[in-house]
Amino acid sequence: MSALELINVRKRYGAVETLKGIDLSLASGEFLVLLGPSGCGKSTLLNIIAGLAEATDGDVRIGDRSVTGVHPKDRDIAMVFQSYALYPNMSVARNIGFGLEMRNVPAAERTEAVQKAAKILQIENLLGRKPSELSGGQRQRVAIGRALVRDPQIFLFDEPLSNLDAKLRMEMRTELKRLHQMLGTTIVYVTHDQIEAMTLATRIAVMRDGQIEQLATPDEIYNRPATRYVAGFVGSPPMNMLDATVADGIAHIDGSLSGIPLPQALRENAASARDVIIGIRPESLTLASSEDAGLAIEAKVEVVELTGPELVVTSTIGSQRLTASLPPRSQIAVGASQRFNIDPSALHIFDKATGKRV
């Protein structure tokens, strides 16, 4: 049984089509992350699932029941908003219990449920306070508590961590992961933060302009991105995208003298494509000593930045830029020519015209 199913969901605002046909099926207990840049329609899609917006076309099914036209309160979902959306005049306890209160759950039962949720989120000592007396992280917990207490079929999160500072965001991320493992509820989670997506998701839907570009596990999104767009969106620093021409199994990177012989697996697929883009993750590049054989490219080092755990080296091949993440103590001479070894299994080749993986 699928917990959530989207069938050709479309949304248009006037002449603009914000969602261009979204298809998606989610098994119970999955943690789906909708990942994409600002304005790609993530919130719109989440609001359609919640029933806060209506799809122009298509169907939403929750727990094998079509919910088109069903009021948000009857969809068996709970939502956590980016702004937390706590009721400012109510105490934390009442905020958490409000959904139950509106569903006429008896007071005693309500208190018990609120206590339980508060205990899970470690906010028992805050129950008597008003939202204005809480820190950002505490508000976030309360907002999650409000969803938790309802025990819904699906949790919807709209960028819940984006208002927190970096350290707190990391803590809450871990917390969310722990919560998901503990409760096993189905979650749909919107973010434009790829780290959040990679760490939390069981599956990621990378969205672009109202469409799903790739729907896959984090591992697959990272290691086998379906398109150049997905490849560029995930990973930091982003994947190097080098224009190249393929002839006879050899990729000639524009601006580079030597060619890269493609590994056998890629050779067959790339045979037909002449203009391609070679994607190399900065972290799959290593320093090559001059006598090293194997796959290597030469580039001119321009800038070296130490971020702490790694040394980010920016160099150029002709007019193209190549970034490498190296161990922090690597010996690099700025301005000199440098050979980088490439792990052949980490090469990604995309068709230049379509952007699709070859």
Partner: protein, 293 residues
């Protein structure tokens, strides 16, 4: 040293304004207080000191008490109706629908009209011979003869209240609408997901955002309603049989119609005192509710 200089400079800068204010507000006020202890006439006699006579007469007279009750009813009924209609109008105008901006602009119209124009308009509507109200009620078969709405003691005050409401509900609606637009969209969405129906949502989620601004509207409108003069003066002059005579009308009659400047002044001071009490009480209320939220 700097801080005393800043304070001194602040006073120096305010001085011209203070002088003007003392001249146009302070002096007349002091003179009114002086007058209120005399039996001065509007023209002719300067009057002589009579002590508290004026006050005693006014407060023990039935005229004042009756007028106070009339004023009370006028204020309570018109202001509560304006609040209710104003909030309902704001809720309506906060919805998405075609022609909303036009309706919003139109709504302000009654409030933007000068009171005298509004009053004249309603006099025409209530006119016993050719008024629109009579015509309408006749056509619906609700009355079988034209009535003089402003000419009968039983209906005059109610008719005035309706006219006052029509003029003043837009102010309340405007304030409420501004407050409604300040309710975060996410909060409304969250309450929908939480299962709050329209009434619960209004009561528990939206009302807290409305309370403060509405309190301001309530204060403004109550004080104004207590001082009401122009609309009544144009429509009924306090009649028939003094059934629409409010405090300000009484002050006017005393001081100008009956030319008793002395007791007119004391009456005016009593009204001023009442309004001040109201204003202070409300200010305290506002401060309290602001402290809570």
């Amino acid at each position: 040293m700097t801080s005393t200089w800043i304070t001194t400079r602040a006073w120096l800068l305010m001085l011209p304004l203070l002088i003007v204010m003392v001249a146009i507000i302070g002096w007349p006020l002091v003179d009114t207080v002086r007058l209120s202890f005399t039996d001065a006439k509007l023209v002719g006699t300067e009057g002589s000191f009579v002590g508290l006579d004026n006050y005693v007469k006014i407060l023990s007279g039935s005229n004042f008490q009756r007028t106070l009750i009339t004023t009370f009813w006028f204020a309570v009924l018109s202001v509560s109706a304006e609040m209710v209609i104003g909030v309902l109008a704001a809720l309506l105008l906060n919805q998405q629908f075609y022609g909303r901006s036009i309706l919003r602009a139109l709504m302000i119209l009654p409030w933007a009209l000068p009171t005298v124009v509004n009053a004249t308009l309603w006099r025409l509507i209530y006119n016993p011979e050719y008024g629109a109200l009579n015509a309408m009620l006749m056509q619906f078969g609700l009355i079988d003869a034209y009535r003089s709405w402003l000419g009968e003691p039983g209906t005059a005050l109610a008719s005035l209240i309706v006219a006052d409401c029509w003029k003043n509900f837009p102010l309340v609606a405007l304030i409420a609408l501004a407050a409604l637009q300040a309710v975060p969209r996410d909060i409304t969405a969250a309450s929908m997901v939480d299962g709050a129906g329209a009434w619960s949502r209004f009561r528990f989620v939206i009302m807290p955002y409305l309370a403060g601004p509405l309190m301001v509207a309530l204060v403004l409108r109550t004080i104004e309603a207590f001082k009401v003069f122009d609309i009544i003066w144009v429509m009924t002059r306090g009649g028939p049989a003094n059934s629409t005579r409010t405090l300000s009308i009484l002050v006017y009659q005393e001081a100008f119609s009956f030319q008793r400047a002395g007791s007119g002044a004391s009456l005016a001071l009593i009204v001023t005192l009442l309004v001040t009490v109201l204003a202070v009480a409300y200010a305290a209320l506002i401060r309290k509710s602001a402290g809570v939220s």
